[in-house]
């Protein structure tokens, strides 16, 4: 019995090491990192993440060996209060191991990339000390993300959820004392705060969902919740609707959906590996994971599903339009990420969980690839810029101007100077645009196919979004890699080292082949069958040539259109975007993110600032400080001490008493001194009188 159990749970006992390995890496770098070389620090962190990947593989193998049974490993009890019982229980099933593999796999590649990237980044920003801190944060992130995906209860998931939010905050504000161009400013810290606060709003929704869940369903543990949900959904359907919609607020925060997506573009203030790992591949997909994990709740309430799907689809289209008007290479990718997250959320909202997870996985590959390649491009321009600064002489004060290595208007022609990066970027772009046979084609098509069958509105929105996706990626390619260099730095850009390009090649391979995970042919629904263990009732759809054809046609059209606008006649130095004139106000809107940030400022943030100012200025400063403290407390104290106690009690009473004592002594001594007059005879008389008195007393006493 004991033996057979050991066999059936396989490598499950390793589950806590998903978290322990990154924490060990973190501790080593934290404690000994000061005496280690940069290479050692980077490789320790990468090894820690790699070890977590190995554990993930072993866990996935165990799940597969157990035929998809849910495996649990309780590490320690956490909270046992009344009816509430939460343990640190790790859960390995097909869904969580999928997430683990993505997180630790892509995470490890990005760790390795970061060894090279941060080496240069800390030198461009002239603060070598932060190299170690970066890897400490990155390992902390992996640990937290592992808690998120491996928890067996909503509360443990929430611990990871908050933990990755913290890491996101720390890493967005990594260069906290400068802006993205390295000038002294608080811009990066403000971006970090924005991300954290926006996520707090989402977390608030998650917490409400959690409270409601415990109140009405009596548990946080996944399976108990799902079990209780079926009956509650029958009697009080509003409970499930409320839980799922509150959860959607959390999803909107973490996975950057309307209306809380605004933090993600600003999150690009973090170093590029962070943008790739946290703000594209893993953390932001936590919301999609949450919905998929709660699929049994969402399936019970189609109304909520519809709302989730519409939020996702609207986000997908909205963000895609903004991406068209951006000039920063990372901002384009950020909006693209929001848009792609919209695809995933729409998919899981429609109940197409496999499609959503499939897109999550492929997106992790190609978006990480794109971000890291963008990082390589930025480094290339930085190198070119440095090269010019050191070999200056021509142009004089020309290089004194602030140079933005992320601005696509400064690029152009990088195809020749950075060929490796160019090809990697091309692969990522084709995968994202959904061109056959790259990974993105298969996963996006699956979503579109599901949408076309069940939700026509969503299908139309997503198709338009897909068109824009291909268009803005085409625009980016033409602007960055084709044409002529629009800045001297771009002309002198240098290709990155293999430590940077090698992980990209792995990701590129995955972006090409990732579609094989779940091909829409009989017998190739691997991911679908795998996830079926956890999700049940998975719909395996065959390839629909019509849907696939339309989406491919849209993507190709978009690329051709982008070539007509940006590729045929490349941008020259200082030329405004060719779309600016024909589109007019619309382009201004896209360029300025449809003024959503400004709207939020006007409607929420400024009101909040007003309230804060009122509280600070009037309530705190004028009332509390000036009136209560200064007037009432200090005033009373002053009055008491100077007037009551000093003037009256001390000066008048106590001083008078002791002065009087002194005067009385003086008077007494002055008076009695006269007795001692120096005349012997008067002394004799005194003695005589004394004798008479004593004798008189003795004689006359009764």
């Amino acid at each position: 019995m004991q033996l057979s159990e050991t066999i059936s749970t396989g490598f499950l006992f390793l589950a806590p090491w998903l978290v322990f390995f990154p924490v060990i890496g973190l501790l080593i770098n934290l404690i000994f990192g000061g005496r280690m070389s940069e290479k050692a620090i980077g490789w320790v962190a990468s090894a820690a993440s790699g070890a977590a990947f190995v554990v993930s593989v072993l866990l996935a193998y165990s799940v597969s060996a157990a035929h998809g049974e849910v495996l649990r490993w309780t590490l320690a009890p956490w909270m046992h209060v009344g009816d509430l019982a939460i343990d640190w229980t790790f859960r390995a099933d097909s869904l969580s191991t999928t997430m683990m593999l993505v997180v630790s796999g892509v995470g490890t590649l990005i760790h390795i990339y970061a060894i090279g990237y941060m080496h240069e980044d800390v030198r461009f920003k002239s603060d070598l000390g932060r190299y170690r801190r970066f890897f400490v944060f990155l390992n902390l992130f992996i640990a937290m993300m592992m808690i998120l995906v491996s928890g067996d209860s909503y509360m443990m998931l929430f611990v990871g959820w908050e933990g990755v939010g913290l890491c996101s905050f720390l890493l967005i504000g990594f260069w906290y004392d400068m802006d993205t161009l390295g000038r002294p400013s608080w811009a990066n810290s403000n971006a970090a705060k924005k991300a954290f606060i926006t996520n707090r709003i989402g977390d608030f929704g998650f917490l409400l969902a959690g409270f409601l869940m415990f109140w009405k369903l009596g548990s946080f543990q996944f399976d108990s919740v799902f079990e209780a949900a079926a009956e509650v959904a029958h009697n009080e359907p509003w409970v499930i609707v409320a839980i799922t919609l509150f959860m959607l607020i959390g999803v909107a925060g973490k996975s950057a959906q309307i209306p809380l997506y605004v933090w993600l573009p600003d999150a690009m203030a973090g170093p590029t590996p962070v943008s790739a790992l946290i703000h594209a591949a893993t953390m932001v997909t936590a919301g999609v994971y949450l919905v998929t994990r709660s699929s049994e709740l969402y399936t019970l309430v189609p109304q909520a599903q519809y709302i989730v799907a519409m939020v996702g689809a609207a986000t997908a289209l909205f963000a895609a339009t903004i991406a068209v008007g951006q000039y920063d290479i990372k901002k384009v990718l950020a909006y693209s990420t929001i848009s792609q997250l919209g695809f995933m959320v729409a998919a899981v909202g429609m109940g197409a969980y496999v499609a959503g997870m499939f897109h999550l996985v492929t997106h992790a590959f190609f978006k990480a690839l794109l971000f890291l390649s963008a990082g390589s491009v930025i480094l290339g321009l930085e190198r070119g810029h440095h090269h010019l600064a050191h070999h200056g002489g021509h142009g004089g004060g020309h290089h004194e101007e602030v140079f933005d290595p992320g601005d696509m208007r400064n690029m152009g022609g990088l195809r020749k100077t950075m060929p490796v990066t160019f090809w990697l970027y091309m692969i990522g772009t084709l995968a994202l645009a959904g061109i056959f046979p790259f990974a993105g084609f298969w996963s996006k098509d699956e979503i579109l196919l599901d949408a076309s069958l069940h939700y026509p509105t969503v299908y139309i929105l997503l198709s338009i979004a897909a068109f824009f996706t291909a268009f803005y990626m085409g625009r980016q390619i033409w602007m960055v890699f084709f044409g002529e260099a629009r800045h001297d730095a771009a002309a002198h850009a240098e290709e990155s080292k293999p430590i940077i390009t090698a992980p990209l090649m792995v990701l590129a391979a995955l972006s090409i082949l990732g579609g094989a995970l779940n091909l829409p042919f009989e017998g190739f629904h691997n991911l679908g069958h795998w996830l079926e263990y956890t999700l049940h009732e998975v719909e395996a759809l065959p390839l629909n040539l019509q849907v696939a054809g339309i989406s491919t046609a849209l993507a190709l059209t978009a690329i051709v259109v982008s070539w007509l606008i940006y590729g045929r006649k490349p941008l020259t130095k200082g030329q405004p975007d060719p779309l600016k004139k024909p589109l007019g106000l619309i382009f201004t809107g896209m360029e300025n993110k449809w003024f959503v940030d400004e709207g939020y400022w006007a409607v929420f943030v400024n009101r909040y600032v007003d309230i804060s100012r009122f509280l600070a200025d009037y309530v705190d400063w004028r009332f509390w400080h000036d009136f209560v403290h200064d007037k009432v407390i200090a005033g009373t104290y002053n009055w008491l001490s100077t007037i009551a106690l000093n003037d009256y009690a001390d000066q008048k009473v106590i001083n008078w008493f002791f002065d009087g004592w002194g005067r009385a002594t003086q008077w007494l001594s002055a008076t009695t001194r006269k007795v001692q007059n120096g005349f012997v005879r008067s002394y004799a008389l005194s003695i005589m009188l004394g004798v008479v008195v004593i004798l008189g007393y003795l004689l006359l006493k009764p």
């Binding site: 001194r673 001692q676 007059n677 120096g678 005349f679 012997v680 005879r681 004799a684 005589m688």
Partner: protein, 100 residues
């Protein structure tokens, strides 16, 4: 036998004269004589009582008092001689340098 009252009255009269002498006179020699008078008035009273009650202890006291008085006069006269040497007067009213 003369009654003891008479001795006591004489003793009181002598003591009073002595006391007045100490208080009134300014010459230390006279004052010493007055003191001797007071001592001897007391001696007289003690001798009288001693003979009245047939006990010798009073008379032994008197011997002591006479001896002490002699010693006292010796010291006192020596002091007076020294004071006279330094101040050329022995008027007790002028010797008041210890007044408060």
């Amino acid at each position: 036998m003369v009654p003891v009252n008479y001795y006591i009255i004489l003793s009181a009269i002598l003591f009073t004269i002595g006391a007045l002498g100490v208080l009134v006179r300014r010459n230390p020699l006279i004052m010493f004589m007055s003191i001797e008078l007071m001592l001897n008035s007391a001696n007289l009273a003690m001798v009288a009582f001693s003979s009245a009650i047939k006990s010798l202890s009073g008379q032994i006291f008197v011997f002591f008092v006479i001896a002490v008085a002699a010693a006292e006069v010796a010291v006192g006269l020596a002091l007076i001689v020294q004071i006279f040497k330094s101040r050329h007067t022995i008027n007790v009213d002028e010797m008041n340098s210890l007044k408060g």
